[in-house]
Amino acid sequence: MKARRREAFETFLAAGLLLLAAVLANLVAARWPARADLTAEGRFTLAPETRALLDTPEADVEVRAYLPENVAAPYGTVVRAVRDRLEEYRAASGGRLRIVWRDPTDPALDAAGRAALAAEAKGYGIREADLQVMQADRRVRQRVLMGVVFLYRDRQAATPPIEDPDRIEYALTRALRDVLRGPRRQPVIGVTRGHGEPDLLAGPLSEVLGASGTLRDVEIDGRPLPNDVDVLVVLSPTRPFSARERYVVDQFLMQGRALILLQDHRQQSTVFPDVLVPQVSGLEPLLAHYGVKIDADATILDREHSLPVPFGRDAGGRPMTVHHPLFASTDAIDRAHPVTRGLPSLVLPMAAPIEVAAGPLEVTPLVRTSAGARARRNVRSLDPQPLIEGKDAGAEQPGPFTVVVAASGELASAWADPQVAVPPPPSRGEGPPAADEPLVRRSQGEVRLVVATAGLRMLGLDRNALLLFQNAVDWALIDTDLVGIRARRATDPPLDAVEPGLRKVAKFGNILGPPALVIAFGLVRGWRRRRTR
């Protein structure tokens, strides 16, 4: 009896010790973590840009990390990822980075302490993150301070709220760069309004573009554009710019500024969604003068490389998804250029071809369609079936086509020729037209242009298009040193073109091949066993 009791005691003791050892091993591993990044481009390792920045401080950098420990799931994962990343920054800085951890949800803080901490964080420019959490079986919004501020000498730079694990390094390195670089005028990104463009300042894109500069609405009404705007973004206007408005954009560029135009050239009718109506920005003649000719009547389709998109409903009323030729995809991308660096692929819904003409600007084609793409004129229906079946395919123009370009250089105004009359400024009330500013005939510095013939629709479909948009803004602002970090958020690379027959072989070979191998092995093994008996 005594021996049994002793045995039982030893068993429970051993089990307890085992559990204790496991807990200790995990605590040790958590205290001194080590990791290996197996990805080809070291996607989860500090980027060379970050490492280079961490080498530059001449004095210590203080990092104040406002990270909530008691944050609702699944955001705890993000908080831990930020912590891990900051530890990597500290290790790579050679002791120049000092981190102060602040927990806005620390239970040891009383209400006054919490308020003081929140005031301190807000004083540094830390903003609250908007989180969606479950509380008592209801989805509710929770606002939590979640950001990092870098303090260097008498300067400070804070990250925006970090909610996306893929954005951590970009946000941290950008703030670090800003604090090390010193006082610098915040660039102004003008977003055009007045021609049916989406309200970028109110939508999610404002957060995306806001990282690059201050966003500002620019009303296009024929008056000269504000002087403090560095880059003008024109995103999918539905009403074309007038000749006068083209003139003010031209004169804006003559100041050595930049223009980004992302334009959809086909719009779905609001009454009949399957009907496509032509849509131009009105800036096409101006761009053609600069050497970027958009064939707005033509629409690109690709029967082989296309995206599955919802279209129509089946007999049971269920939504159908079809590979739609008008939603071409491509991987023919100039990955060396800052605007398209690291982008594996891009979806080009209803894009129009761009022709590059010899001119004063150095124009770089950034994105081309596949060689199998075709251009069709006056596409008026979204119905994919006739396009898939190739009705009237004889009239199609063969690809590949350029669909995104970047251009830079000095150039002459489209109104440089004295024979070309300057459109008069808009009149105000019944008085004479407002006085115009003097015509600038030649650009005062380098002009930068990014033109894509797919706009809002592309941004809504493809995460890579958002990266392209952000990169374009940075390139236009001559601020491309962190573009490489952003490219790490791109999607997986696309597959090469595969013959349908080979696809079938690969599919069924993989599904049936390995199981057949196992069964064959079993049969041979059974047969040999029977023979040896």
Binding site: G76, P493, I511, R525
Partner: protein, 237 residues
């Protein structure tokens, strides 16, 4: 050495039973159908095995208990466990040997999906880092599942009970990560630390973190240790 002998005996035992030729092909057909047809790989058009690595941990919650249910339960039912325990083997050697045998079968099944990776690599620029990470993650996750299934098998002489208990344990560790938004904040941290899925996802991205490796290894060690102690307890009961 004696451990390896037990492992070999166990693996050979599996290969002599029809169940191996039902379970293994079923797993392969399901994984292949998911990845190439239901997912579907060619329509998505991306050179990645991510959808495959999203499914397999879930498949393992059924597949591993089917492998481990007989490890001890069958021996107890047929009375061969007593014979095995009379061998000049320590309890931990028996447990580890059986664990390695079952893991060998699971690893074989997993490695038979390597043609999927070869196919993707032949059709696009596949990044092998996440693939290596994914297979390493499957090995770690599979080891943890096998050890828990083995523990369930030690507790009972009924294979069905062993299967159900193992499935429930594996499934609980699998879904705990998904239940995080529904649990109180105070519990979220500890439960997240126990989530097999979240840890596997990190490794399958191509990042091998010592914390995740140590976690899976410690789950295996604790489960095998408890199984060995349960065997030991049989002697004095």
């Amino acid at each position: 050495m004696r451990t390896l002998l037990v492992a070999r005996r166990e693996l050979a035992g599996y290969l002599d039973l029809p169940i191996a030729y039902v379970v293994l092909p079923s797993f392969l057909v399901l994984a292949g159908t998911w990845f190439f047809v239901l997912n579907p790989f060619f329509a998505n058009g991306q050179a990645t095995l991510r959808p495959f690595f999203e499914l397999v941990p879930f498949l393992f919650t059924f597949f591993v208990p089917a492998i481990t249910m007989r490890l001890f339960a069958e021996e107890r039912r047929s009375g061969t466990l007593e014979v095995l325990l009379t061998w000049p083997l320590r309890d931990w050697e028996v447990v580890t040997g059986k664990f390695l045998g079952a893991l060998g079968l699971l690893a074989t099944a997993t490695l038979l999906t390597l043609p999927f990776a070869a196919t993707v690599a032949a059709m696009g620029p596949l990044d092998w880092g996440p693939v290596v990470g994914g297979y390493l993650g499957l090995l770690l996750l599979g080891s943890a599942y096998v050890s828990l299934g083995l523990l369930a098998s030690v507790w009972t002489s009924n294979q069905i009970v062993a299967f159900i208990v193992a499935f429930l344990i594996c499934f609980a560790f699998y879904v705990v990560g998904r239940a995080l938004p529904m649990v109180p904040q105070a519990l979220a941290g500890p439960l997240e630390a126990l989530s097999f899925e979240l840890r596997f996802d990190r490794v399958a991205r191509g990042v091998v973190d010592s914390r995740d490796v140590v976690f899976f290894v410690s789950v295996v060690a604790v489960a095998l240790g408890l199984a060995a102690e349960t065997l030991r307890a049989r002697r004095w009961r």
